[in-house]
Symmetry: C2
Subunit: 244 residues, 2 copies
């Protein structure tokens, strides 16, 4: 391997399919057109008609929707190894905004790049399709949380899911992880007020379950948190390879 360290996307896909040398090479080629973007400036505006998608290489990104009354609902966070704006490319328009939370690094991917890569290595296409389907499953799980979990379970579930996702790209463990999100981010993602988020975090911390402080998430009682959240990582694991 050329690189000292594989890209997060490679790492993630490798956890699920054994990729050949060729496939790895094609994957790395997709990472060529590297760009960086600074925090806070929208990558994609809600309503914009957009052309390119990106593979996130470093940093955190948030996808959100703003309503007419000004409230914001965060649909998902993206972490290294995730795709950005894939649906915007397909629909040739974006119904949501995409904003870097910190300074990020991302590789621009054109529709044509993707097509070509798929033509060369169909297995890779399948692997990426898997990744996209998994994203969809995460959105569904998020929806379930908003509809049928109370604030505590919602928070617990969210922090656990993020932990699993980060672990897949080597940025987290059962101990915890670094997390640049503010309590306002959590509020907008979980459909709560920032004030209530604060109280929930305090409760979880004082209950000895998890600590969210100064950019660090620490799991104090992983099992307890799993129980509280009714967390079943099946929809993320997907360790059963779907390739023939």
């Amino acid at each position: 391997m050329m690189n000292i360290k594989a890209s997060p996307l490679t790492q993630k896909l490798s956890a699920f399919v054994a990729l050949s040398e060729t496939e790895l090479a094609v994957l790395e080629r997709l990472h060529q057109r590297r760009k960086s973007f600074s925090a806070g400036r929208d990558l994609v505006h809600q309503g914009q008609s957009e052309q390119a998608a990106y593979i996130l290489a470093a940093g955190w990104v948030v996808s959100y929707k703003i309503q007419a009354d000004g409230t914001r609902q965060i649909v998902d966070f993206q972490i290294p190894g995730d795709f950005l704006g894939l649906r915007s490319v397909l629909l040739h328009t974006s119904d949501h905004g995409i904003e870097p939370i910190v300074e990020i690094e991302a590789a621009e991917v054109l529709g044509s790049d993707l097509l070509q890569a798929f033509a060369e290595t169909p297995r890779l296409a399948t692997a990426i399709l898997w990744a996209v389907s998994r994203d969809e499953a995460m959105v569904v799980e998020h929806l379930v949380g908003l509809g049928r979990r109370d604030a505590d379970a919602r928070m617990a579930h969210f922090l656990l899911e993020l932990g699993v996702r980060l672990s897949l790209v080597g940025m987290g463990s059962r101990q915890g992880y670094a997390c640049p999100l503010t309590q306002y981010h959590l509020a907008d993602a979980l459909g709560l007020s920032a004030i209530h988020v604060n109280r929930v975090l305090r409760k979880l911390r004082e209950g000895g379950l998890v600590t969210f402080q100064s950019g660090l998430v620490t799991f104090d009682d992983y099992e307890g948190l799993v129980a509280l959240a009714d967390f079943d990582p099946a929809y993320l694991d997907q360790s059963r390879p779907l390739l023939p």
Copy 2:
């Protein structure tokens, strides 16, 4: 055209792309392996590993997730012209259940059928990809509703969205539509208790906005409802063709 009436899927896709004779023929061929299923018996169980997908031809279907504590969250309803279990096929497992609400008619579609159809008519592939992306956009909008809309707006938005979807397949209009859902269905979809659903419906009815009664949804004041729900059908319209 052979058929007196085009299938709902054909109707839906036609609203967005002008399909050639060939494409129409391929589309009709996908509807060959027709089956019917009775209400209440799961088509796909949560946790099952499933092989086939379906195109819904007649009837209503619900996709849901059951939690450990027994509460149910409905992710989406499918109406004629919608795909069922496409993601289950891709992931080779199902993280959610699929249940017919009434007696339904559906055409079984194997992965191989789909691949072959796509090989014959790439434009059709694009059209179907559009339909799938639109479904995704609907789930996202549903998520936003759960997170950031109060019960009244949630209900209003839901009834309006369903109206637009049904209109696309000729089963509804600005006047209203037939709807076999119970108040319990609404409750599980909107993250409310059935009791509160009842109250909300009464409020909307007495406010002269919309009537949900005995299997019939009637829009009494469409504009008023749109205003209450902050409903923007942009994510459904997609009238801008994405084909070259």
